[in-house]
Symmetry: C2
Subunit: 217 residues, 2 copies
């Protein structure tokens, strides 16, 4: 008799296999059939019961990564030992340094071929990350005097769109030199808002990620 | 005997009809069949010979608008009576004031349902508009002393991504109040780069466009 697995176990199994294959071969070079072949007898129908397309699987894989990193963002947001401005710097540091970034840049989806993924990242940035993580930190900074602005929601959005979309090497196919130059302009923009929150270590790491992407795309 | 039209005449006829219908009914509420019905006997096959989908027709309609507005941008770029900074201000003014903006916000495509359109706008912004129109103006400003930056390409991109994507009411469904607040943060960003180039008249016009969109979406 076949084991009566819970559906979430099946979904997790599919995502585990897909994640590993995306890492090994890259997203563009992995087919749905490749994923099925590694699922030990799970039928094509079983996959399509849970996911409409390979792009759908990619969404689920990145959602799982996002959920993990949001945990980390929430911990920083809720600390009581830092000013708003210090939290902003910490959140940039921790975000760029976390190892899952290497995984994302290794999977290296081509946004040109996956416009829905771009739309999803744009909306996750503006409708989830900005209001839930950056906005509360900016509000704290306004209260403790470390950040000055009259428009915290919009400042949170502009900062994250710049960092997550414009500076994203996977969207604009940036190399290390492009990434260096974007980083310098981003730093100047932040300074214009009185936010001196990026440093050399972040620049080095940012260039490293661009380089990982260039090797894997 | 049927007239032997040139293909570009057929394409222009399709685009004229599609543009008028998009304006009257909105993009989302216009079907390919609506367009065919108004083409006076042109067959479905003739349309699909030139366009794969309704989205393809929208691309062609917006390309035609973009070509017209690029003419205007080129004229400003090539003037000899203005400093780089003055040209930047003029280009913002003329871009937001041109009547075709009313048409675009009346057609009001829903970017959520048309991710390829977003990708196309993003790449037109970064790969066409920024290098061809904003970059030469920034370079002139560096030469005449009216603009200071070490990274003209990246500054051009960041300015246009903010203005064309983040501030675009059609992408983020902004109302007049959101648009006011985004404009104020954008103004502060520009001032941080030493670029005091936006004014009250632009703000009024920007809010007017958001209001046109809210009425037509």
């Amino acid at each position: 008799m076949a084991r009566n697995k819970h559906p979430e176990e099946t979904v997790n199994l599919i995502l585990d296999v897909a994640f590993r294959l995306f890492m090994e071969k890259g997203y563009e070079h992995t087919s749905i059939q490749d994923i099925i072949d590694q699922l030990g007898g799970l039928s094509k129908g079983a996959i399509y019961h849970h996911f409409k397309s390979k792009e759908d699987i990619l969404f689920a894989v990145t959602d799982r990564m996002t959920a993990e990193s949001n945990q980390m963002l929430a911990v920083i947001r809720d600390r009581t030992d830092l000013s708003g401005k210090e939290k902003l710097k910490t959140i940039f540091q921790e975000s760029i340094n976390r190892p899952v970034q290497n995984d994302i840049y290794t999977i290296a989806p081509d946004f040109h071929n996956n416009p829905k993924l771009l739309l999803s990242l744009l909306h996750e940035t503006v409708e989830e990350a900005a209001p839930n993580y950056i906005l509360p930190i900016i509000r704290q900074g306004m209260a403790d005097g470390s950040i000055q602005t009259d428009y915290p929601e919009q400042l949170a959005e502009l900062i994250l769109i710049s960092a997550n979309i414009w500076m994203n090497p996977m969207i604009f196919n940036s190399n290390e030199e492009d990434s260096y130059r974007k980083f310098m302009v981003f730093r100047q923009m932040m300074q214009g808002f009185g936010l001196d929150v990026v440093d050399q270590q972040m620049l080095d790491r940012f260039q490293e990620l661009a380089s990982i992407y260039q090797k894997n795309k």
